[in-house]
Symmetry: C2
Subunit: 170 residues, 2 copies
Amino acid sequence: MSLTQKTRLQATRKRFIEAGGHTTQSFGFGRIIGQIYALLYLHPEPMCLDDIGTELGVSKASVSISIRQLEAWSAVKRHWIKGDRRDFYEAETNFNNLLRNGLLEMLRKKLDTAGAQITLAESTLTEALNEPNGDERDELEVVAARLKQAKQFHNRISGLLSNPLVNHIL
Amino acid sequence: MSLTQKTRLQATRKRFIEAGGHTTQSFGFGRIIGQIYALLYLHPEPMCLDDIGTELGVSKASVSISIRQLEAWSAVKRHWIKGDRRDFYEAETNFNNLLRNGLLEMLRKKLDTAGAQITLAESTLTEALNEPNGDERDELEVVAARLKQAKQFHNRISGLLSNPLVNHIL
DNA sequence: ATGTGCGTTTAGTCAAAACTAAACGAAATA
DNA sequence: TATTTCGTTTAGTTTTGACTAAACGCACAT
């Protein structure tokens, strides 16, 4: 392989890996997660923890933690090699699965906890509403109305995420 | 107003505000942003910077910075009060606008920069591909194929965000 | 059993982000 | 012009969380 080809391939890899790290960073997951995925995505063969760490210049511990996150999102798959005790990983190249099991699943969880909070607030308020009139009854009802509106919106979004049509589009 | 009513109203407010802060925090924006929005959302009248800061127990500077972010997302609106030099703010209760101008807009920007990076990587690689054969031609083509696939997925998602049908559902 | 080679856990470090206090500039008031 | 009252900027502090080195536990081999 010519020197220029090699250099350009390395440059391409490096750029893509940096971009991956930058992207996950901007979404609030660390930088390493994106870098690992990008590295595996462009790598023809599965890689082990040590090689990944060496390639990216980070510790094995970081790789271990990050790769478990990626596994939980179905973004990488373990690859068994007979006679080798090490764990090898390759990227899940099917972005649809990645989207469904990763991003959307996370979104769902966050929506759930948010929804639970709203419900909790609502029920606390309902107790107050059932009592005989007080001198700030109006305000009480304004808050109740807003909470109700928030819950409606929450339900709409939740419904959207479990809508089979929407899920098919993604 | 009875004491129990007052207590419960305050408890409801507090819980809702904390939940709001927690939510925005989990999405990588600060805690204060969500707290301010939640406070304004449950507050019948527009509030000024100082009152917001006092209510949440944070400095006016923090409120100033955060509320400009909220304004950029159309999540709050300025409310002019004649004869008062202070800026008053109220929550945008239309969640659809909020979604469109806030979350989706942000998503669009991140997709754009990610797409630009992929394109850049692709063009760097294309130069190498146009050269005569080298001894790692195969690997070069694997990387090229992966980049192409990534770009396709990126385009699909971008298209989805500007799809009028999808935009209408949201 | 003992040693070796893994992945994981933990305790600690360090850098980046959040947040504050204080200084500042602009606009209204006197 | 001097003063007051805002919102913003800035410089410094605190907090958070990313990351590492080292210890650990487990499984297999000898």
